[in-house]
């Protein structure tokens, strides 16, 4: 059989995006997915009869607008329903709500702090400028400032003139953003604790770091990107759950002629004369291709699928040092009735957005302290959504599903993750919410707890890290996953990386897959 132009290992959203772009360029592409379904961490599963869950990733915020446009994802079924608010219930029975509507938001913030209500707009504009400043970085292979290769020099020259164009003030701001902790950064604007905490939480997601850890401010910005392209409004909940994001990308890829095989676990990359020549599936089937791209994380790709013997020792060492340290978990609930929060007991608009348990920066930092020493947080940070309020097809009529993102649940739990520890952890999460919504316990019909160990076992994400490696500065840009292989290439000829373990990193963003496809096409796949 004629070899494929490219085989993509892994049918997560980045693998599918990469395949779609290659197929769109006329290449013969095969995607191989280990599980019986595509999507990777962007899947919708009917975990309990009638109740559908975005089991892992659960919102759409960072999916690149150019991918939506170029792959025409709305035509292939993507429909993003807006999440319009963030509710932070407080232990004293009050709450802080952030609304999309400017006037409504200002009025609510002014209830807590007139100064913060004013600062909110300034902060928003500053982040808008900062997001604009780094946005061009997202769509480029990151140039290595220490390299003398013409392509790096060219990239740097472009980047340099872009940064100079920012002006002194914004450049200095960017430097602060790159180095500060999210709590310190937010202290420059705000005095209201729940506001600072809720905002700083986006700086710690997926990372074993607290809001006071330096470097987390930049992750705030990473999450702000989703809000930049206002016209796309690509911030919200995908109708049908995040599996429908993967389904839309897969449909686009198929429309360009890509083949997608599920239940096709790749055992290893076939390496002949120091170049990738295809893959070998578990069971021995050999499939040949001119190029192979792996959307698995760097450890899976290089240690498991390639094998250390084919790689330079220092590169293997760098990959081994690359930090995963999964720290996030999910709890998915099937509910017989809506939770009634003490602060706002009636059903209403506040339940149709995100609900965040983040009453103060100290609360988050204490949650981190426990994780730092190998325990899950006794009172964790929670980010909840009730998708059935936005898309009734997620649950039987009158019933609801609730998705709870939890941090911190360290992968390296003292004593390890066992079934008993998983359930104890689930209880902790439910107890935490019940302090704010006392009817929750009696409303629960079913409960699914997903720990970092479960994420690793089910999806193959090393140490259960949802971003295929922490978004910390020492492994961002030209350092992701390791120099000098941070431009989607690898030490093995014709083997590429296209997962979130490459620049610009995680979130259901798709930028890695798109950038990798471009790098492959430039090299004449």
């Amino acid at each position: 059989m004629k070899p494929y132009d490219a085989i993509i290992v892994g049918g997560g959203h980045n693998g599918l995006v990469c395949a779609a772009y290659l197929a769109r360029a006329g290449k013969r592409v095969l995607v191989l997915e280990r599980r019986d379904r595509i999507g990777g961490a962007a899947v919708t599963e009917e975990v309990f009869p009638g109740f559908r869950f975005s089991v892992f990733s659960y919102v759409v915020s960072l999916l690149r607008p150019e991918i939506i446009r170029e792959l025409d994802l709305p035509r292939h079924g993507l429909h993003v329903l807006p999440l319009e608010s963030t509710l932070t219930p407080l232990p004293n029975g009050d709450y802080l709500a952030q609304w999309n509507d400017h006037d409504q938001n200002r009025r609510e913030l002014a209830r807590h702090s007139l100064r913060d209500a004013e600062a909110y707009d300034d902060y928003g504009r500053r982040m808008h400028h900062m997001a604009r400043a780094v946005k061009p970085l997202l769509a480029m292979a990151p140039p290595d400032p220490a390299s003398l290769h013409p392509r790096d020099l060219l990239g740097l020259a472009g980047l340099g003139s872009h940064l100079r164009g920012l002006g002194r003030e914004r450049f200095h701001e960017l430097c602060r953003l790159m180095t500060m902790s999210s709590a310190d950064y937010l202290d420059q604007w705000f005095e209201c604790e729940p506001l600072k905490a809720t905002k700083s939480a986006s700086g710690i997601i997926g990372t074993l770091a607290g809001p006071r850890s330096p470097g987390t401010a930049f992750v705030l910005l990473h999450h702000y990107m989703g809000e930049l392209d206002g016209v796309f409004r690509a911030w919200g909940f995908a109708k049908g759950g995040n599996g429908s994001v993967s389904a839309a990308i897969a449909a686009a890829a198929r429309s360009f002629g890509a083949e997608i095989r599920t239940s096709a676990p790749v055992e290893r990359v076939l390496i002949e004369s120091d170049r990738a020549a295809g893959v070998v599936l578990e069971g021995g089937e050999e499939i040949r291709a001119r190029r192979v791209a792996s959307s698995a994380d760097p450890r899976r790709t290089f240690v498991d699928l390639v094998g250390e013997k084919h790689l330079p020792a220092e590169f293997v060492a760098a990959i081994r040092r690359y930090r995963f340290r999964g720290s996030s978990a999910k709890v998915n609930l099937a509910l017989g009735e809506l939770p009634r929060f003490r602060c706002l007991p009636q059903p209403g608009a506040h339940l149709r957005g995100a609900i965040s348990i983040s009453p103060s920066v100290e609360y988050l930092e204490r949650a981190y302290d426990q994780a730092k020493y190998g325990e899950f947080s006794q009172r964790p940070y929670l980010d909840m959504v009730i998708p059935s309020l936005l898309d009734p097809s997620m649950a039987p009529p009158g019933k609801h599903v609730m998705s709870i993102f939890v941090q911190y649940a360290p992968y390296r739990l003292n004593g390890g993750w066992t079934d008993a520890r998983r359930e104890a952890f689930g209880d902790t999460v439910i107890d935490t919410i019940a302090e704010y919504a006392p009817n929750l316990k009696s409303a629960i019909l079913h409960r699914q707890v997903v720990t970092p160990a479960d994420i690793e076992r089910t999806l193959g994400l090393s140490e259960g890290n949802i971003f295929q490696g922490e978004l910390s500065l020492q492994q961002m840009f030209f350092l992701r996953p390791a120099v000098p292989w941070a431009r989607y290439g690898t030490p093995i000829r014709d083997l590429f990386q296209c997962g979130s373990g490459t620049h610009p990193g995680g979130g259901v963003m798709g930028a890695s897959g798109r950038n990798a496809a471009r790098a492959m096409l430039e090299q004449g796949v």
């Binding site: 007139l114 004013e118 707009d121």
Partner: protein
């Protein structure tokens, strides 16, 4: 939800049109009747009553209050007399306008400042180390504007103020019925008029007293559509419509200096220090890049454009606020930001930002108009602002 003003219980039943709009997070009436026409004419022929409570209001008090405000705004606050009101812009350190509003000196050490946007944080950051307290009294203070030729007669009936002695841009303390109020001879219509400031709790009593006293003088509650036309006739600019606050501008070219907004008269460079002074002193030595001017659209030219398609001229009955290109020959020399048909002056007028030489009064230009779905240009001439400036305003 949006806030309502302290006068809402009186306004809501009168608002037959159910035409509401937002103003700084409050619901306010666009017009009470189905059309704003009667309300507009009341401004010029009788007296119109506007609820202006959504303005931001600050009480600035303390030994250094005058010094602090003097440092913030471009006009001289230190030398302002007790009882005087200053209309003034204020700038960032690059001399670009952040906001415009009024500063009223209530006594030696107490001021009331009004603004279109929230400014608490800005004022506090300018007050560091000074003996001054800044209080946001926006919600606690209700405000009404009574504007039009009969405004004085009505207020004389309704209050104990000595209005004959109250000069333009001065304040008086008085009682309206039994309600203690501050009356300032100020307004946003360019007409004889007053603004009345009071405790929010007394709002309804004050409203009722004015309506009772004014019924024989044609007092007419009026909404934002009528006010918008009147303020254009008066040549008064509106933030977010005619200019972008330097605080909100996303790019530098969206910002304006006071000189570019026709507020050079309000920049007091005799003051040694105030925010933006260095940049403004620099700019004062050059000619401003932009001028904010009045435009009058030529009737004959407009009529001809409509005649060409077989129509009589169609005039904007309500003010428009979409940026509209202004040309000189083939090149664009600026843009109009507000405009409309003045029923009083029987002229099509607009407020425009023009570059350099094209801004001189009398210059013949062209403004874009859309006639039957097609973009055309009508002749327009630069005229002095304000378009309407009756003697009674100051008399």
């Amino acid at each position: 939800m949006l806030k309502t003003t302290p006068f809402h219980p009186r306004i809501a039943p009168l608002c037959a049109s159910q035409a509401w709009r937002r103003w700084s997070g409050h619901v306010v009436a666009s017009s009470y009747d189905l059309s704003h026409e009667r309300e507009y004419h009341a401004i010029r022929a009788a007296a119109a009553l506007f609820d202006i409570s959504p303005l931001y209001k600050y009480r600035v008090r303390g030994r250094d209050a005058a010094r602090m405000l003097d440092h913030v705004v471009t006009r001289d606050v230190v030398r302002a007399a007790v009882g005087q009101v200053l209309y003034t812009p204020w700038c960032d350190s690059a001399g670009k306008v952040l906001d415009d509003g009024t500063v009223a000196r209530l006594d030696e050490t107490t001021f009331r400042m009004t603004s279109a946007d929230p400014n608490l944080r800005w004022l506090e950051s300018c007050a560091l180390g000074l003996d001054v307290s800044i209080e946001d009294i926006s919600d606690a203070t209700a405000a009404l504007a009574l504007q039009g030729p009969n405004a004085r007669a009505i207020l004389e009936q309704a209050s104990d103020a000595d209005l004959a002695a109250l000069k333009y841009f001065r304040i008086a303390q008085a009682r309206l019925g039994s309600v203690p109020v501050t009356i300032s001879r100020t307004g946003y219509t360019g007409d004889l008029g007053y603004e009345i400031w009071l405790e929010a709790a007394n709002a309804l009593e004050a409203w009722d007293a004015l309506i009772a006293a004014g019924s024989g003088y044609g007092i007419t509650p009026a909404g934002m559509l009528a006010l918008d036309l009147a303020r254009i006739e008066a040549g008064l600019m509106l933030i977010d419509v005619d200019y972008v606050s330097a605080r909100k501008a996303l790019i530098d070219s969206q910002k304006s200096s006071p000189f570019e907004l026709g507020l050079g008269w309000a920049v007091d460079l005799r003051k040694e220090r105030f925010v933006g002074r260095a940049a403004l002193a620099d700019e004062a030595r050059r000619e401003a890049q932009w001028q904010f001017v009045g435009l009058e659209v030529d009737w004959g030219s407009l009529e001809a454009l409509y005649r060409d398609v077989g129509l009589a001229p169609q005039l904007p009955g309500a003010a428009w606020r979409a940026s509209t290109p202004v040309y000189s020959g083939s090149g664009q020399v600026g843009y109009a930001t507000s405009g409309g048909w003045s029923p009083l002056l029987k002229k099509y007028i607009a407020l425009a930002h023009l570059q350099g030489a094209s801004a001189r009064v009398g210059t013949e230009l062209e403004m874009e108009v859309t006639v039957e779905h097609r973009r055309k240009r009508a002749a327009a001439r630069v005229v002095p602002r304000p378009f309407f400036d009756p003697e009674r305003k100051r008399a």
